[in-house]
């Protein structure tokens, strides 16, 4: 179980490969469910040129840890990973990586979905978008 907040751009697929190599559980899992969320260049009908992600240091980590523990209690999984960006970002930059390893696919699918949904509703992050002529806080998670 690993969580990480990154204030610089990261490459999720490379991160995933390196993490998986380090865990040393090759052969133990039959399923890996991976979710990568990236920044769009549009939102609510307008062009978005950049975004700033703010978080509540300490509480964010606490809640990512909490939801990871909840997933591990509810499903029979081998491991989970959550990496989330903060700071300044540009369209196409990865925002979040969630991965879950399990023996069979159902637990990996369900637990990864749970982690993403809980992250979106409980982890204290806030997005501020830069449009052509102004900035605006994103008010609702879709």
């Amino acid at each position: 179980m690993h969580i990480e907040i990154k204030d610089k751009p990261f490459e999720p697929y490379q991160y995933l490969l390196e993490y998986q190599d380090e865990t040393g559980f090759a052969g133990k899992y039959g399923a890996t469910a991976v979710f990568v969320g990236s920044m769009r260049e549009f939102n609510q009908g307008e062009d978005v040129s950049a975004m700033t992600l703010e978080h509540y240091p300490g509480m964010t980590e606490k809640y990512l840890q909490k939801i990871s523990e909840e997933a591990a209690t509810q499903w029979n999984i081998l491991d989970s990973l959550i990496v989330h960006r903060v700071g300044e970002m540009l369209p196409n930059d990865p925002i979040v990586l969630v991965a879950v390893w399990s023996a069979h696919r159902a637990a990996a699918f369900d637990a990864s979905r749970y982690l993403m949904e809980e992250l979106k509703s409980r982890a204290p992050f806030w997005k501020k978008e830069s449009l052509t002529d102004k900035t605006r806080w994103v008010e609702k998670n879709t």
């Binding site: 925002i95 993403m116 992250l119 979106k120 982890a123 204290p124 992050f125 609702k140 998670n141």
Partner: protein, 96 residues
């Protein structure tokens, strides 16, 4: 000797005064609306999270969707606060 005792009392008072506070944080759009990021308020007369909001913002109306945390756990406005608590106010979260 009397001078020394007075000095000790003064120091104890200072420590007491410094300790009897609640730390308040505001995040994102709420930080910009209130114009505050981190403030300390006196604990005196403050028993709930709502009281802490009223003290820190000088009775500003709280936006309906405001979320609240005490020591990094979500709570309601009626939650009791203690000296030294960290109380945070922020808008709905939009990560992921």
């Amino acid at each position: 000797m009397i001078g020394l005792q007075a000095e000790i009392r003064k120091q104890e008072n200072t420590i007491f005064m410094t300790d009897a506070v609640i730390n308040i944080k505001f995040f994102a759009s709420l930080r910009e609306q209130v114009g505050l990021a981190d403030v300390q308020i006196s604990k005196a007369g403050v028993s709930t999270v709502m009281d802490a909001w009223n003290r820190a913002t000088e009775n500003r109306d709280m936006p309906e969707n405001t979320l609240m945390a005490v020591n990094m756990d979500y709570v309601s406005a009626e939650h009791t606060v203690k000296v030294g608590d960290e109380v945070a106010f922020f808008p709905p979260v939009t990560g992921g």
